[in-house]
Amino acid sequence: MNRYLKYLTGKLKWYILTFFIAVFLNFFLPRFIPGNPVSALVAQMAGGGASSDVLDKLYNSYIQEFGLDKPWYTQFINYVLKVFHGDLGISFSLYPTKVNTILSHALPWTIALQAPAILIGWIIGNLLGALAAYKKGKFDSAFFPLALFINSIPYYCLAIILLYLFGVLLDVFPIGGGYSMQLIPSFSITFLIDALKHYLLPFFSLILVTIGGQAIGMREMSIYELNTDYVRYAKLLGISEKKITRYVFKNAMLPQITGLAISLGTMVGGALITEIVFSYPGIGTWLFNGIRQQDYPLIQGGTLVITMAVLLANFLIDIVYGIVDPRIRMAQMEE
C-alpha cells in the first residue's frame, strides 16, 4: 500500500503543477485583449450624459479597485493569492457582484442538468453497445449506423432541433430558462414541477448524445474482447455464453469507466452551448454573457472552475482505476 501512496503523491505533485500552469494561462491570456475593458465598462455605467471629469474619476477608481495600475506580476501574485482564498474577484458587468456568487449560483444548475444525463446515458449506452456487439447481425447493423449518426450530430445542433420540435412546433415544453420568470426559486411543489418542465428538453438532448457515444465505444471494446484468446479458451472449456458475456462485459467496461470519469470531469464545461441554446442558468450561459460583455473576471472564473473540475476528475480516475484494474495496479506499483 505504501508504494501505492507514493505513486499517488507523485501524481498529486503533477496535478498541482498543472493547476499552477492553468491558473497562469487563465490570468495571462485575457490580458492580451487590446483596448481597455475598464473604459468600456465605465462608458457603459455612465451612459451618455456624464462629463469627462466624472468619467475620469470613475475610471481611476475602477483601475485601482481591480488593481490594473500595478505591474502584471503583482497582479498575478494578488490573483493567485485571491484564488487560493476562493476569491475570484468582482464581475465587471454585474458590478459589484462577486464572481463567486454568480458561479456558485450557476454551478448547481449545470451539475443538475449534466450529472443525471451523463450517468443514465452512460448506463444505457453501454448496455446497448454490449448488446449490439453480442447480438451482431440485424440488430447491430440497424443499431450501429443509427448510433453513429446520433453521435455525429453535434450536441448543440440536436439541442436546437429538439427545442424547435418540442418547444415551438409541438409546444409541449417551455423554450428556455431554468424556471418560469414569475416564480422565485424555492423547494415548493409548483416550482419543482416548473423546473422539471424546463429541465426535460435540455436533458434529453444531452442524454441522446451520451448514449450514442458510449454505445459506439462499448460496442468496439466488446467486439475486441470477444475475439480475444481468453474467450476462445473459455469456450473450449465449455463455459457458458452467459459467463463469457460477463467476462467480456467487465473487461470492456474498464476503459468505459475512464470515459465516465472524464465526462463527469468535463461536465461543468461539457455542455456550455446546450445551456446557451436553452438559456439555462448554468455556467455556460454566464460564460456567454461574460464573453459578450468582456467581463474578464467572470470569464476567468468560469474557465478556472471548468479546469479545476477536469483536474480533479483526472486525479480521481488515477486513484479509482488503480484500484479497479489489477493490471494497472501492478504497473503502477512497479513505476
Binding site: A22, Y164, T303
Partner: protein, 277 residues
C-alpha cells in the same frame, strides 16, 4: 497506392468521402461562379422559404441558402486547416518524442500531458477572448494549436514501438540519420493511422468553430455555419418559429461531421480487421 486500393473496398469510406467531397466542391464551385453577395440584404427579416429564396431569409433579411453555401465553405476551410495544423504538430511532436526518447521525450511528454489535462476548449475560449479581430485563418490556427495532444500521444506510443523494429535497425546499419529514418521507416507505417486521425481532427475542427461561434467568439466579418446558428439564437429565430434560419445549418454541420466519422469508421474496419465481427 496499396493503401488507397484497400480503402476503396470499404463502402462506408466511399460513402463518407463522396458526401464530403460533394459538399466541399459544391460550395467551392458555387462561391466562385456565383455573383451573389451573401451579406446582401435582399428581403425582410425572417421571410419563409419561397421561390426566390428557397430557404427564406434570416434576421438581417439575407438569403439563407446563399449564406449556407458560403458558411459551408468557411466551416470546411476551418476544419481542414485546423486538421492539417493539429495533425502536423501532433505527428511532429509524437515522432520526435517517441524516436529520440530520454530527456526530449520527458519534456515533450509532459507538455503533451499538460495540454491533455487542461481542457482545450478553455484554452480556446481564453485565446479567442484575447483577440479582438479573429480572421478565419487565425481561428483555424488557434483550433489547430489546441487540439494536437491526443494525436501526439498516440503517435508517440506508435513511434516508440516502431523504432524497435528490425528494419529501423537495418536503416541505422545503412548509416541513415534520424530524419531519414523517421520519414522513411516510421511514418509510412503510421500513414493509415495518421490519415484517420486527420479526418477526425477535421470533424472536431468544424465542431470547435461552430461551438466558438455560438459562444460569440466566431470569425469576424465572415459567415460560418456556427455564426448562422448563433444569429438565429440571438435574434429569436427559434421562438418565432423561423425554422429555416437554424435547421439547415444545424443539419449541414451534422451531415459534414457524419460523413467524416463514417469515413473514419470505414477506414477503421479496413485497417483494424479485428473489429469486423
Amino acid at each position: 497506392m496499396k493503401l488507397l486500393k484497400t480503402l476503396l473496398k470499404s463502402k462506408k469510406f466511399i460513402i463518407g468521402l463522396c458526401v464530403f467531397l460533394l459538399l466541399l466542391f459544391g460550395s467551392l464551385i458555387f462561391t466562385t461562379i456565383s455573383s451573389h453577395d451573401p451579406a446582401e440584404m435582399i428581403g425582410f427579416l425572417y421571410e419563409p422559404p419561397s421561390k426566390e429564396h428557397l430557404l427564406g431569409t434570416d434576421n438581417f433579411g439575407r438569403d439563407v441558402l446563399i449564406e449556407l453555401i458560403y458558411g459551408m465553405k468557411t466551416s470546411i476551410y476551418v476544419g481542414l486547416l485546423s486538421g492539417i495544423i493539429a495533425t502536423f504538430i501532433g505527428t511532429t511532436i509524437g515522432t520526435t518524442a517517441g524516436y529520440l526518447g530520454k530527456t526530449i521525450d520527458n519534456i515533450l511528454n509532459s507538455i503533451t500531458n499538460l495540454f491533455l489535462v487542461i481542457p482545450s476548449f478553455v484554452i480556446l475560449i481564453l485565446l479567442s477572448v484575447s483577440l479582438r479581430s479573429r480572421s478565419l485563418t487565425l481561428l483555424a490556427m488557434i483550433i489547430g494549436i489546441t487540439s494536437w495532444p491526443w494525436t501526439a500521444r498516440a503517435v508517440r506510443a506508435q513511434t516508440s514501438s516502431l523504432k524497435t523494429r528490425e528494419h529501423v535497425n537495418m536503416a541505422k546499419l545503412n548509416g541513415e540519420g534520424y530524419v531519414e529514418i523517421v520519414l522513411k521507416e516510421i511514418l509510412p507505417y503510421m500513414l493509415s493511422y495518421i490519415f484517420m486521425v486527420f479526418v477526425l481532427q477535421v470533424a472536431s475542427g468544424i465542431l470547435s468553430e461552430a461551438g466558438l461561434s455560438m459562444l460569440g467568439l466566431g470569425p469576424s466579418n465572415t459567415i460560418s455555419l456556427g455564426k448562422m446558428l448563433s444569429w438565429a439564437l440571438l435574434y429569436e429565430a427559434v421562438r418565432t418559429g423561423a425554422w429555416w434560419a437554424f435547421i439547415p445549418p444545424a443539419l449541414t454541420i451534422a451531415i459534414i461531421t457524419f460523413s467524416l466519422l463514417y469515413m473514419n469508421t470505414g477506414m477503421d474496419e479496413v485497417f483494424n480487421p479485428r473489429l469486423r465481427s
